[in-house]
Amino acid sequence: MMFLRTRIEAIGDAVLGFFRAAVELWRLYIATIAGVARGFSRRRDRRGRPRGEVARQLYSIGNRSLVFIIVTLGFIGMVMTYQACLQLGRVTGDYSQVGSQFLRLIISDFGPTLTAMMLATRVGAGIAAEIGSMKVTEQIDALRMSGVLPIDYLIVPRFLACLIMTLVLAILGSVIMYAAGGLTAQYSFGVNPNSFYDLSFIRPRHVVVFVVKALAYGAAIPIVAGFCGLRARGSSEGVGWATTAAVIGGSFAVILLDFIISASALWLTGGDL
């Protein structure tokens, strides 16, 4: 009986913790949006982001993830085409549809989602590690003491940069994935490149889904990571925990958003996405 009770308490604790974290995340999100608005409206008196900070974040989030995104998405594009061709070869042996259907899947799902999963790992962990170490060395308190809003100073530039760069890298990643898949299909299965690189199945709604997903992930990753970083406590161990939590939280947020957006897109289009 005692055992059951502690179990139930543990579950209740976890659920409560989850809801509290969700509320705090939502608050941070609102504060960040407010910070973005402040940054645009009061150009002279910004108690927040230093000049050129967004550009610096664009560089560190975007340019420095370039090789990582190219390598990971290139290889996964090859694997997916390989598996699809292998399976089709067993069943029908007709490869003419592979390219166009692969492109449809990339645009409406794999391109933005896998890019964002990778960014949640690289960028999310980076943001959490940086902000977390500032938190435990009391630099955030120092900022607050000198009248600077930590959210405007730290989170807003990363939020804006990540929003832009996730979209850019998702486009790049999708192109790489498609090209790598095309090469695999051509050299391993002898698929005609003209039939593989076939854009005729793409409709505007696929592109809309692509953009919506990329922007949603781009907004979620820095907020989750910043939240985890700001919650860091203790010393080096706390930073480690914060970074771990950022990777898990960011990846899971991507999967959850993917499900929500895909399901609503399917529902809105009546199953004819």
Binding site: V67, F68, V71, T72, F75, I76, M78, V79, M80, Y82, Q83, L86, Q87, L105, S108, D109, M117, M118, T121, R122, A125, G126, A128, A129, E130, G132, S133, V136, T137, S235, S236, E237, G238, V239, G240, W241, A242, T243, T244, V247, I248, S251, F252, I255, L256, D258, F259, S262, A263, L266, W267, G271, D272, L273
Partner: protein, 253 residues
């Protein structure tokens, strides 16, 4: 510019070399197999049991997503019996093992790096050495074994949950009967599809374990260093998962 590329290449080579050397040391420590049983059990529990919720959630949504992506084909061609084929095949062979490995790397690999690197920067590893305890044998080997074993087990669990997630979405959003879905899975998926994902997860487990332990024991410099080590470990794990996936798929079909 060229100097930058060269410096990056040298850094990557150093890291790969370090990971290979650490793998050699771990293999050396496994002969003869003297493993600290209590440390191994503790790690198995911490890495396995406590990752079940996140793996189950991830796998559920992964299966659901694959079914959502198969949805338009099903609606267009009315081929309900093939829905399980597409979704199941993608989940068992690729999406399931990869997503579970990525989540495992974030949950367990990163956590392990954080723990080991905190021990390293607080000089606990030197303390162990001073007591004539080999930190590799005592700390690294049990973690590596626990991660490999648990990733395989979690992949098996996750595959089943993913198929369940796919069936639930198929029932609620695409109106495919449970029995149709069951036969669609049973007729089209072969045991080899399942095994293909499972043995890939062994390789992913080794990659995650080695990179997370390597960055944990080579960390330098306080709290900043710990954050950087965790970041580097998850990035290295993600790249090696993708590369291993490609080569294993290519070599074994």
């Amino acid at each position: 510019m060229i100097g930058n590329v060269g410096a990056g290449a040298i850094r990557v080579a150093q890291e790969v070399g370090g990971i290979v050397v650490l793998t050699g040391q771990v293999l050396r420590a496994l002969v003869p197999p003297r493993i600290d049983g209590r440390e191994l059990l503790k790690n198995l529990h911490k890495m396995g049991n406590r990752s079940v919720p996140i793996v189950v959630l991830t796998a559920f949504f992964a299966g659901a997503l694959m079914m959502l992506q198969a949805g338009p084909f099903v609606k267009k061609f009315g081929a309900t019996s093939l829905a399980g084929w597409g979704a199941g095949y993608a989940v068992l062979r690729e999406i399931g093992p990869i997503l579970i490995a990525l989540m495992f790397s974030g949950r367990v690999g990163a956590n392990n790096t954080a723990e080991l690197s905190t021990m390293t920067v607080t000089e606990q590893l030197d303390g162990l050495r001073a007591l004539a305890i080999d930190p590799i044998r005592f700390l690294v080997v049990p973690r590596v074994i626990a991660m490999v074993v648990m990733l395989v087990v979690l992949t098996v669990i996750g595959d089943l949950v993913a198929l369940l997630g796919a069936s639930i979405v198929g029932r609620t959003m695409l109106e495919i009967d449970w029995s149709t879905m069951y036969y669609s899975f049973a007729d089209n998926l072969k045991p080899y599809d399942f095994l293909h994902g499972v043995y890939k997860s062994i390789a992913f487990g080794v990659a995650i374990a080695m990179s997370s332990c390597y960055f944990g024991v080579t960390v330098r410099g306080g709290a900043v260093g710990v954050g950087r080590a965790v970041n580097a470990a998850v990035v290295a794990a993600a790249v090696s998962i993708m590369l291993l996936d490609f080569f294993l798929t290519y070599l074994t079909g």
